[in-house]
Amino acid sequence: MQSPPPASAPSLKARIAASLEDQRVLGYVLMTPALLLILIFIAYPFVLGVWMSLTDKIVGTSGTFIGLGNYDKLFASDIFHTAAWNTVFFTTVATIFKAVLGMWLAVLLNRKFRFANITRATVLLPFIVPTVLSTLAWLWMFDATFSVFNWTLRWLWQVNIDIFGLVLKENWGFFRGPLWLGDPGLAMASVILVNVWRGLPFFAISFLAALQTIPPDLYDAADIDGATGWKKFWHVTLPLIKPVAIVVVVFSIVVTFADFQLVYILTRGGPNNETHLLATLAYQLGMGSGNIGQGAAVALFMLPLLAVVIVFQLWYLRREGVR
């Protein structure tokens, strides 16, 4: 850096000011902070992740290149197959439930009723509070011995026994109820339940925002044509909120597909590694066992689906934009 002659100092300032008036220059200047963050903390880690997945790196070593060795090992492992299948299954089922129930709740909330605003605000709570903390509450609710689900089941059992005249008060608790998180199928169902609980409000409020943009005279016109509730929903409501619905569903698929917290808190992938998702398996291999290369490889398996989603979304946005 050579020191500029004193006379040119103001002109340098003027030159900077002038070039900032040029939008080709100002554009890059304004983009710089965002681009730097993306390059350092997304683009570079991404390249690094691909490299790591091709090495046998474990904690504390730099690792050597082993080509597709990690991928070969994963394809041969049952745990990986289970995790990949679970991820697809979990995402599909949870998204369907969230979309259907969210639509139902949105239609309910769209009606006029007393306390409508506060009700709308309250149902969003599961979505805004820290997921791990609310999931802890669910973990405690699923507790097989001391908690609500099984207590209610036992109570119903007891009531039934009383009704049938078999007084078995001593056997209160005879019916133990299922171990919600101890059986692979029930554990997956529990994880899906919590995901639906958390994500449903997001669907409902987004759909509600879309519903509120529908002009009421469209319904009046449908009334004149003699359309009933369901018909109005299918032929007026659904087509009009389809653009928002598609974006919400796609967005939710990405988030659900990459979910980590629910399984980490509820089952830690258990019992017997049967409920792992790709993200929790990546964590267990990469952080738990210190097998960084394999963990990175598992995480990268999320990429193909993400790529499909991103391409679809870009195509869809462009089509909508053109129209």
Binding site: A34, M52, L124, L125, W172
Partner: protein, 282 residues
């Protein structure tokens, strides 16, 4: 006539009030559950015969335990600091980038737009392993700075996307008038456009704040010392010792960790919702 009114009321009850009540009940029950668990003495918590829905002898012992024996206050301070700082960083980068992409014509702006959108859809779980390497390499591991620099990776794309949409709703003529009066581009941006965009910036900021308050994975992976943890990680790691769950204190911590976001949210419901739906619609 009366019968018809009765019937419609019955119908309204069946298709509207009952489903709505069930939804609201299901959405709120876990919070009620946190509250009553945190107030029950252990003798009640661990008695399978007592109805779990009521508290017989409320106690504050779990709350005292939370404040007396854990670092909850430190975690709360850390969480607040991380959330505020990463929101500030993201808004700074997001406002500038959003303005550039919605207002200025420069080579590559479309490509930048696609890039921002793609990064918007990259989930933290995809990158956390190599990112741990980057954080260590920068010497940031086990500090709150590691979170302040990495949270913007999912906040900046979202803020930029949202603000781009917001800037487009502000008429260009306002800026053009200011520039005819002799203002530079930067002056027009800071004095005219940004003040008008305050509602959009607020929406983005509130949404970003709650997202960083709630973040779990990066905080779990980058931070190890108990006194540097955030609430979500502190509560889940320090109140569960092996197989022993301190349920009363866990639920007290879960409730208290949720309250700040709920308060922020309740003050800015409209902004939050418009941030959320705006982020989706783009």
């Amino acid at each position: 006539m009366n019968a018809m009114v009765g019937e419609t009321y019955f119908r309204r009850l069946l298709v509207f009030y009952i489903p709505l009540f069930l939804f609201v009940f299901a959405m709120l029950f876990p919070f009620f559950w946190m509250l009553i668990t945190s107030l029950k003495p252990d003798a009640e918590l661990y008695n399978p015969r007592l109805s779990p829905f009521i508290v017989r002898e409320p106690t504050l012992e779990h709350w005292e335990n939370l404040f007396g024996t854990t670092l909850f206050v430190e975690w709360a301070v850390n969480t607040l600091w991380v959330a505020a700082a990463s929101t500030a960083v993201s808004l700074f980068a997001g406002v500038l980038a959003g303005y550039a992409m919605s207002r200025l014509v420069f080579r590559g702006s479309t490509m930048f737009g696609i890039m921002i959108f793609v990064t918007y859809l990259v989930p933290p779980t995809l990158l956390f392993i190599p990112l741990t390497g980057v954080v260590t390499w920068m010497g940031l591991q086990d500090t709150t700075w590691s979170l302040i620099f990495t949270y913007p990776t999912f906040l900046v794309p979202f803020c930029t996307w949202l603000l781009m949409g917001y800037f487009q709703t502000i008429p260009k003529e306002l800026e053009e008038c200011a520039r005819i009066d002799g203002a530079t581009r930067l002056q027009a941006m800071f004095k005219i456009v940004i003040p008008l965009a305050v509602p959009g910036i607020l929406s983005a900021g509130i949404f970003a704040f709650t997202l960083s308050w709630n973040e779990f994975l990066y905080a779990l992976v980058f931070i190890h010392s108990p006194e540097t943890k955030t609430i979500p990680v502190g509560v889940t790691s320090e109140l569960i010792k092996g197989d022993v769950f301190f349920w009363g204190s866990l639920m007290a911590g879960a409730l208290l960790g949720s309250v700040p976001v709920a308060i922020v949210y309740s003050f800015f419901v409209e902004h939050y919702v418009s941030g959320m739906t705006g982020a989706v619609k783009g």
